[in-house]
Amino acid sequence: MSRMVIAKLLPALLVVACQIWMGNALARDPNRDVATSDSSSTDKPRPEEISATVGANIQVFPSEIKLRSRHARQQLHVVRVRDGFAGETVPGVRWTVSDPEIVQVQDSVLLPLQDGTATVTATDGDGKQATLTVEVTGTQAKHQWSFRNDVQSILAKQSCNMGACHGALAGKGGFRLSLRGYDSEADFRSITREARGRRVELADPGRSLILAKPSGVLPHKGGLRLREGDRDFQIIADWIASGAAGPRDDDRRLSHIKVLPELSRLQPGDQTQVLVQAHYDDGSIDDVTHWAKFSATDQSVADVDETGGVTIRGSGQAAVLVWFGSRVVLSKMVVPYDNEIDEAIYAATPRRNFIDSLNLDQLRELNLQPSPRCDDATFLRRASVDATGRLPSIAVREGYWAQAHHLRRDWLVEQLLSSEDYVDYWTYKWSDVLLINGNRLRPAAVKSYYDWLHESIRAGTPWDELAREILTATGDGENNGATHFYALNQTPEDMTENACQAFMGLSIGCAKCHNHPLERWTNDQYYAMANLFSRVRAKGWGGDSRNGDGKRQLYLATSGELVQPNRGRPQRPAPLDGDPLEFDDPGDRREVLADWMVSPENPYFARAITNRVWANFFGRGLVEAVDDLRLSNPATNEALLDAAAKHLIDHRFNLKALMRTILQSETYQRESISLPGNRDENRFLSRYYPRRMMAEVLLDSIDSVLGTRTTFDKIAFSGGDAQKTDVYKAGTRAIELYDSAVDSYFLKTFGRNPREITCECERDDEPSMVQALHLSNGETLNPKLLAENSLPQTAIAESWDDNTYIETLFRTALCREPTEAERTKLLGVLSEYEDDRATALQDLAWSVLTSTEFTFNH
């Protein structure tokens, strides 16, 4: 039975977010040959540096290189340079070498011959040239391949240590490696000591299982991975033959990786190549392009194959994600749209603040035309819905139009940001993030958590303070609603993961079992962070969330550590990349966490909340998904997100300051109508993107137009049972509900956030036939139209004429006057009802309230 390898069991809680490695599963053209390209000239990845060499219009990557052993190599790549940007691969380059005894170039790979220096020149078909300098050393020295830096890189490139193969927690076929090779010591033991040592045969490397299986000499379920005679095969064979030395403490260590070029400017159809260099702590730099793994962030713009060869497929902005040695870096590509846009348009477009400047810079770079400013009526409706979740009231409408034309919008922004509606709306939004949910908290706890949040927002508590109050909460849940964050997350692991998700937009769940494959977070860091929470205790936790009175008392124990399962001992408590505390430090460990979390130095905290606020106003985050701020998931406009986050920090995390700047920006105030010069894009903010109002706002808007109310008197638990509730008094709006479990078919159908996990993705704004059926036949809108005090009845009671009725409806629902065409058509249909005027007015209201124009913000 010893042969039987049974999984170390996946912890039940692996259910929690584990960002998966987005592999290169897509069909690729296997015949694409990147090596046909050749290149020339100077290496300067940064475009501004490139522009210093204007005149040279081809360039070779890299521009200089040191080859430090006779086994060193460097792939070369020549690109066209246009307007200071690296462009596409130059095909058919001819290579010449100043001293052919020092180096040679074979298939665009530079190989050392003997020590010395040389200049290598690339010449393209037009005779344009570019050069690089190379210094060769160490060709006489004995060279030894390193387990940590060479063998592990090969195993990773060949996917041997991926989760699907030997990197699975249980290994595969009795052979287990650490996922993506994060643990060289364990992998070395596994390779050299287990399986009775048959994995390496020092005397006859070819018979080592580690070579015989992947090369097909012996059956291998993972298929052919290494071919005998290939360089990678030979490196492992040489490593074995020279004694199969293990990882050493004095091995050079990878300090970072770098891509060449970092930024390219290309056109659809172009091909290019990403080169990858590993920088080690001894100052050496190796070409590891052949060992790096590549994937595309947006295949419709740029696709990449396993060698780093890139094909541009469409316009926009994309990146190639490069992984090597647990490091991740992006090579970015800008592909301008094929538009004819007059330069003068950018200069003539108004700029109110930094958002506009940075947005226009990007539009110009991508050759996209900004749509013009929207009219005042559009802005009134748009800003009211986005900032407060409410259609403008009569009072606001009158106040708005009474302002001088040039002051109107700023006036409105101030009205909105200081309104009570603002408090309700944003309490609801942040309740989504904090998961205030009657399925998981008892009613008293739901209310105290909500009340605490509502009060904080009314008081204008800065976001960093709000986060700190949650993270360091103690005491009685009734008096301190902030303690309920911990009631929702009762283990140190859940606390860690949800705090990271809510406040930093980071899913670190992967690191619970292994080093995070797409981030720098390690299993050690995960448990160091989780140990900050190991002394959080409460009376009243556990059990079914629907039982009991929900009274809880949160306190800190004076001892207790969280054991890291992989090491069998606790880590010293530390925020992810912060300094560790001593185990016997007497303070509240969470204070240290809070300091680290909300520090302006924390690159995630300010960006995460900035991105959440941004998404509220623009319909999409600068980073999408909003909750996914991985380094490997770049923003559509990094400079803009950085600047907006800095703006928030400068304003001491006062969210209103950020919202004001957004609302005032010309970028936010653009029309939602597209132009030929921006029709094809949907993420660079050349116009305002219309979107359906969120479920709660839509329901409230229907009520506000009709003057009706919705009754909320039931909590529907996810098991299917329900409970009466009387906490919501008559007239409570949907946006004022504390709890996502309040029963409402309308809200469910229109995709409210059920608050199961911290993810904006739980909210669903997709249109569906079910919604159309509900608006047409359902028990929400039809009864409202019939209700005693609803607008159609009021119109009858007050004997409005048809025109007054139509105008009132249009003004309250659409914030505009009806057009003559609309008026004529509607009056025509109204006349068909003859003397059944009540029905006529109801049906007219129905047609306005189900229109796309009403249900969307635009």
């Binding site: 069991l9 692996l14 599963a25 295949q299 059920p754 997709e766 059926l773």
Partner: protein, 458 residues
């Protein structure tokens, strides 16, 4: 809707006008313009009288334990084999004692014990792979198999081509799209979700029928006034989402005016005995409704056994609270599934529908071979069992084997792409047909080299 087939009888309302135009616009936005559409239509993607194939996809959210259902290992050590005993069937394989009715109809379905996938062991990764055949990468969301069918063949009646019962699956723990949508084909190919529990006494399709106060003449006037206001949509950019919002009103109108649809969704038309044979629980009545929908020419029905893996006892048997243990399966989940599945297969056969209807039982992964300390099993994508019946599948066989402890495929390893290819094959779709992918790139129905599980059909 502009489908790749002419659907004369589908144009019940305002003919092939507005929606078709909008639909063509949608295709254009993803690089598939009208000319290509016409070419595709001419190339023979049109329905024929032989076009009777349907599929019922039962998606077992939570992921059943292969070792306690269809892939018993009585010889394995106690910590692997679990508490249940295998029983003989009338097919070539044994099943768990908790599935006695399966044992009696095993000649009608076959099992593939060597399914596996290579993505992360989180529910949603498996959901997307087992419903679309691919893992979502590079920003590309792939379409559900039912969406692909709808795209290629269109509706067969007034009812939608693809219906999800009882409602769309929720989110898993991995924050990933779950694959129960139109993906890159667009929102127009999202399935119609029932949004109700058909086992409830007062079950009806929510809002299918207008309230009695809404006479046809009123509905017509409402529609005309609505389109007068809808003309204002030009005042703002018509995104795909906005177009779909409007288009859904036409689709809703078609459905609510269809006697076929009313009839199909009316479970009261079924004798009590039949309803009880399926089981008076949500899953049982969904299976019965699926049969009625197939009879009413719905091409693809996806049944979610459960709605999410949260707050509900599902196949997700981690053992620890709030999940159930292995033992716990025999109380609720297994009897429910056993009853409804066997009733569905027998009923389809009795009615002569089984030959044209593929019924597949899929899940996002299997469970760990070794029982965990809490008496449950955890996630295990390395090996699991899927079931197939009808649609040309020969029953009674076990295809592919797992190793001695059900940990990895021992032969015929089968990936999600092959399972989806099997569905396409049973639906008479050409695996080499191409879909318009993002950026105008053609996407084959399945990746190059991926084939159906041939052994099921011979």
């Amino acid at each position: 809707m502009l489908h790749l087939t002419s659907q004369a009888k589908a144009h019940t309302c305002n003919g092939a006008t507005r929606r078709d135009f909008l639909q063509a616009g949608t295709l254009g936005a993803i690089g598939f313009g009208l000319p290509q559409y016409l070419a595709a239509a001419e190339a023979g993607h049109t329905g024929t009288e032989a076009d009777r194939k349907s599929c019922i996809m039962i998606f077992n959210l939570g992921a059943p334990s292969q070792l306690d259902t269809f892939d018993m290992k009585p010889e394995a050590p106690a910590e692997v084999r679990g508490p249940f005993k295998p029983i003989a069937t009338n097919g070539d394989f044994q099943v768990s004692e908790i599935l006695p009715r399966h044992a009696r109809i095993a000649d009608k379905f076959s099992i593939v014990r060597s399914c596996y996938h290579t993505a992360a062991a989180v529910h949603d990764a498996g959901w997307q792979m087992l419903q679309t055949g691919r893992q979502f990468t590079g920003g590309v969301n792939y379409p559900h198999a039912g969406a692909v069918l709808e795209y290629i063949k269109g509706r067969r009646s007034d009812l939608p081509a693809h219906v999800v019962l009882p409602e769309k699956m929720g989110r898993g723990g991995g924050n990933l799209p779950n694959g129960q949508a139109g993906g890159f084909l667009g929102k127009a190919y999202d399935p119609f979700a029932l949004m109700a529990d058909p086992s409830k006494d007062n079950f009806k399709v929510p809002d299918l029928l207008p309230p009695s106060s809404l006479a046809d003449v009123r509905i017509d006037r409402r529609r005309r006034m609505r389109s007068a206001v809808e003309a204002g949509m030009r005042q703002f950019e018509t995104t795909e989402s906005a177009r779909m919002f409007d288009a859904n009103f036409d689709a809703a109108y078609r459905l609510m005016n269809s006697p076929t649809a009313r009839e199909a969704f009316d479970l009261c038309k079924e004798p009590k005995k039949v309803r009880e044979r399926y089981g008076m629980h949500r899953f049982g009545q969904c299976c019965l409704l699926a049969r009625r929908l197939v009879e009413a020419d719905v091409r693809f029905v996806t049944i979610n056994t459960f709605l999410t893996v949260f707050n509900e006892i599902t196949w997700d048997i981690h053992g620890s609270k709030p999940f159930t243990t292995i033992e716990g399966m025999k109380n609720i989940v297994a009897p429910m599934y056993d009853q409804a599945y066997s009733a569905l297969i027998e009923d389809l056969q009795d009615r002569g529908l089984l030959d044209d209807t593929l019924v597949c039982g899929l899940a996002e992964f299997g469970r760990t071979p070794k029982v965990n300390p809490a008496g449950g099993r955890d996630h295990w994508p390395q090996c699991f069992t899927c079931t197939f019946a009808g649609g040309g599948v020969q029953g009674g066989r076990a295809i592919g084997q797992s190793d001695a402890i059900g940990a990895v495929p021992a032969d015929r390893p089968t990936q999600p792409g092959e399972i989806i290819a099997t569905i396409f094959k049973a639906l008479d779709l050409d695996l080499h047909a191409e879909l318009p992918g993002p950026g105008g790139r053609p996407f084959p129905l399945v990746d190059f080299g991926v084939r159906e599980i041939k052994e099921l059909f011979v």
